[in-house]
Symmetry: C2
Subunit: 758 residues, 2 copies
Amino acid sequence: MSERVFDVEPYAISTTRLDDGRMRLIESMTSAGNAHMGMRGNFEEGYSGDSHRGTYIAGVWFPDKTRVGWWKNGYPEYFGKVINATNLIAIDLELDGEPVDLFTGRHEDFALRLDLRNGLLTRSFTYITGTAKVRFEFERFLSIATPELCLQRLRIRALEGSVRVRATPRLDGDVHNLDANYGEQFWSEVARGPAPVPHLSLRTIPNPFGTPQFTVTAGMRADVTGLDPSGVVDAPLQAGLVFSGELAAGETSEILKTTAVVTTRDVEEAAHVDTVSRLLEAAAGTTFDEQLAAHTALWEERWARSQVVIEGDDEAQQGIQFNLFQLFSTYYGEDDRLNIGPKGFTGEKYGGATYWDTEAYLVPLYLSVASPDVTRALLAYRHAQLPQAQHNARQQGLAGALYPMVTFNGIECHNEWEITFEEIHRNGAIAHAIAEYTRYTGDRSYLEGPGIEVLVEISRFWADRVHYSKRAQTYMIHGVTGPNEYENNVNNNWYTNSLAAWVLRYTADVLEALPRERLVAVGVEAPERDAWRAISGGMYLPHDDALGVNVQHDTFLDKDLRPVDTIPADQRPLNQHWSWDRILRSCFIKQADVLQGMYLFESDFTVDELRRNFEFYEPMTVHESSLSASIHAVVAAAIGEREKAIELYRRTARLDLDNYNNDTEDGLHITSMSGAWLAIVQGFAGMRATDAGLSFRPFLPAGWSAFSFTVGYRGRVLEVRVETDRVLLALRDGAPLELVVHDRTVTVDGELVVAHPV
Amino acid sequence: MSERVFDVEPYAISTTRLDDGRMRLIESMTSAGNAHMGMRGNFEEGYSGDSHRGTYIAGVWFPDKTRVGWWKNGYPEYFGKVINATNLIAIDLELDGEPVDLFTGRHEDFALRLDLRNGLLTRSFTYITGTAKVRFEFERFLSIATPELCLQRLRIRALEGSVRVRATPRLDGDVHNLDANYGEQFWSEVARGPAPVPHLSLRTIPNPFGTPQFTVTAGMRADVTGLDPSGVVDAPLQAGLVFSGELAAGETSEILKTTAVVTTRDVEEAAHVDTVSRLLEAAAGTTFDEQLAAHTALWEERWARSQVVIEGDDEAQQGIQFNLFQLFSTYYGEDDRLNIGPKGFTGEKYGGATYWDTEAYLVPLYLSVASPDVTRALLAYRHAQLPQAQHNARQQGLAGALYPMVTFNGIECHNEWEITFEEIHRNGAIAHAIAEYTRYTGDRSYLEGPGIEVLVEISRFWADRVHYSKRAQTYMIHGVTGPNEYENNVNNNWYTNSLAAWVLRYTADVLEALPRERLVAVGVEAPERDAWRAISGGMYLPHDDALGVNVQHDTFLDKDLRPVDTIPADQRPLNQHWSWDRILRSCFIKQADVLQGMYLFESDFTVDELRRNFEFYEPMTVHESSLSASIHAVVAAAIGEREKAIELYRRTARLDLDNYNNDTEDGLHITSMSGAWLAIVQGFAGMRATDAGLSFRPFLPAGWSAFSFTVGYRGRVLEVRVETDRVLLALRDGAPLELVVHDRTVTVDGELVVAHPV
């Protein structure tokens, strides 16, 4: 792998090579976060080579202008984006008056390591000046025990020669967004100073759209041995402390920098400085190692219900561990005002907002590997934004609610008509997640409470968005973009039509099962419900009888249909080589579309139908979305195409670690981090949670000696270990559980072994 | 008409009312230009109310950033736009130390008038101070005799009281574009000064795209009586002269301001100041009235071969006169590096560049009302840009040449995929204009010379852009936007497919008729030509046999088809009331699409076919493009729907004068200025120029007592006068001409009368 910059080990990424041509890639991969905030793996002392310094605070964003290009009615007023926030980790370093800079300076014994079990980032190197050799050892982590805290430890040791050291732990608010068109700054200083602790309080600049301004305050303390306090940093957008002194050979200085961050999302502005001071004071009572231990213990609790172990394949182990670590670093359900941005805290691309990826790709994972509360927080996020979704529908002149393609606050903030107005299948995914939560947990309280309110408004949207074609005598949905974003503005996308028909039917079913008083409260009368059933039943679902496949959209079969392997290798990925025009007109599919729909409603189809569709579409699919291969892997496994399933799994498992799409320098593909997990658990282990309960149809991929994983299910914690010829099920917590393995109903209570069929 | 701000008179627009809520509209309508430069009808002395001051210099533009929103492969690097240039007309005025300002000051006897025969703009008012009444009379025009010159005369007369007058004729370079996102300025000062003449030399700021920078230099002189020179203006971006003095009641001052403008398009920068000085010196030898007379004489020559006279309907007369005047002010073929922007010199919307409108809507007019050289200059413009058109095709990964949607230099500079990549029918219009020129003039020299080179490259584009559908066994064109821009990304747009098939066939025909040596030089071998014929013959042209109509595109008939009159009146125009999504999905047609194609190839269809298509599409057409109603009017006339033709004519004839689309404040719809002419000449008079010659099938619209028009045709000048029951043809110049009137072949030599059939 030409793009592999880190060594393979199961639970960490590490390297002893500093590739200065790939700093952005290295920074993306060594990102870490604690759901409250996060940052790229930037260097404390700065770096003068090509690099992208990025610090992001959860829920803090700015509504930027979107009135560019050619306006269309219905477009949102602004484009929300995360903004690069105060650099929290800065520790300027000078030796004998010269800055330490790994881009320009001589150094040796470099090592960089991110622990994928607890997010501890360590970095060390020996820096060589004209007269001395000095060893630097950095450690840092963002605490999940106290999410306001960033903890850093730096040891500086003179190995040879004597050296004058100057260290300046500081906070740096002079930051810009990568996508700034005109070098704009989005922050203005509210307060700063060296006392009571060095602090910097920045407020987002005013905006004309009436969205809230945010104030973010960072305060720091520095506990230093071996150097003497020698000043403060107190300049616009800067606050910090200066330490200096002489280190003789063998002497060591230790710098503990503790930074606390609060925002007006949680604490009113007037109390910010007091709050960070108190947080820092409390932190001062514990050591770095104690803080790390408390933090690590909480991570261990997470792993106890989510760990995936792949034996005999460290690359695969590293891949799945990296993915789960990065996902949990981004979101663990503590704050239901937050969601999961496509780049998490690792970059700015896509604005950093909420996408439909959450419901389509992440809900199934969180349902299995974390408390149901985590998923419920994700559902609550959408329910809380129902009024905004109604606003979005009104913007299109339509009834009901349209959940946004991209948002921070529920209001759509993306302005490409073929996405904003047309990629409306997202509205189906929001509904489907409610059904999935209900089916997985068996808990109907969310569905019949807030859930049905969301479903009703989504159904109203669909009922208004269809039209009746007098010529064809069916309901149709024109002008959509399906999951395959390599086609836009198509008519009767099979996926979208299927999902819409399902939502209308499911909502009607749920309404009919509601207690009378709740039904009255929800306020849907029988005629409206009947209309939904009529649309659902009369929906046109394109199908080709001769081919025996569902047809992606009305005119797909008119295209020049040919397999991906007819494309010269040097023209892939298509999105980096072909014009958009050529991509749109080609038959090549960016990401699972018909198969995505059949995956969602798998039980409606025979294995033969699945197979025919897989064999038709998979050869035309280029998987240039990070969200595609995993779904195809699950389907391949379901139809017994094990080798294909493994091949597809490989495309998703180490997407970022191996920089498959050549864009990881922009940040990690956070919302596709569930892909490998889906391929392993739903694919290789064949896990399904249906109304009838949990089932497995496992096999062991070639090259692995075994794999195991832990899932939660209705109060139980279940460990599943798949070996060559058998599967071991162990109930780690909860009451005995009846489930189906290889079509056999078994009851797990303690441990159980089921042989694979021959 | 609530939007009518000018009185109706046949050859002028005038008003005695200053409606300060509609200044932008007034300014647009009183715009004037001389093809070299132009300006909105701004007030010399300034105006502190809402207003848009705009001066534009032909061929001077700036490549602005387009890297906004979501990038797509194939998009151009920059968006070219005209930039607001030095304000040439400024004459600051003070009375007793207070600025004259019609927005805030007391005034009476206001009059504003634009002469539509020679573009003389006159404005007068009496200004009332606390102690005096002062009369101001302004005149100005841009000379077509010396296109570098702007001439202004101002008479100031104290009617009552004595008054201290200060007048400052000056050049003001402190200008901004209306669409500036961040208040950018696009000019930097190169030179300025009071000597040898007050002058200001501005250069466009550097750009990163390698397109040329332009320097524009304006110099002025002022010949003043009744006031004394009292200083100069010499400040950044400003140059001018100051005059002052006391006028007692009955005393008059006259200010003649003459401004000369040159650009680096014509004169190298180092010679600018000398050149403007020489131009001004030469002008000083003639009086304002002499300059005006020379200018007016040239306009009279234009009218002698283009005048349209509508008797008995001054509104109609004013409409057609306004349109022709504004068109000729924008372009009269003197400079084949220029083209006709959609707003001409009257505003900045659409960037001010070249659109396909030129070939589709303006070439037929210029062919008839001006020397063939004017049209040939338009064709030469495209031929000169063939390399850039090849570049544009390569950007899409396609062979041949793709003429741009929007351009200044031939390179596409518009970045909306559904337009840039998909509205490719423009490439057909470029080819069709060559055929039209050849058919009208009978001159094959352009066709067989530069023209065939353009046709071949356009054909190569089409041959690569089609695909062969194995299922349907025909050639198809997927992913286009037809003339009806209320649908995007459709498949097999009948208009586009028809035009592409025609281009391929026509090009093959022309090649086969070429002299051997020319054919060799052009370099198309027989197999390529045969392939074009095969594609042309095998092109899929959607048609519905049951309805007997050509189908706009593949799935048009699946829509909810209904007539425009089912839309509530308060929802029109749709583009101001409906979301883009709703517009796209609706059946409503922005502008002639199938009918546009049948109009182009009228002789291929029977009147019955035309009628069926007209009756099918016209009820669904909202005509929200300024380019639509005129084509429908011509078709309506051709099928004998005279009332409908007149109704449609009315929508186009006074589009700007009555501000039909409620957007004239942004500038005039220059490229639709031919609409009324087409409706009158091709519609009411039924004029056609086919290979067989010229023919007419005239009728007199109800409400008119007669109409007449003059056209040039193959060396003749022909005047046609249509009365209630007869048509009079008069040969004003050239050899006897055989033509067809009401299906009768006649020879015109002198005058001839043909009765209308009963």
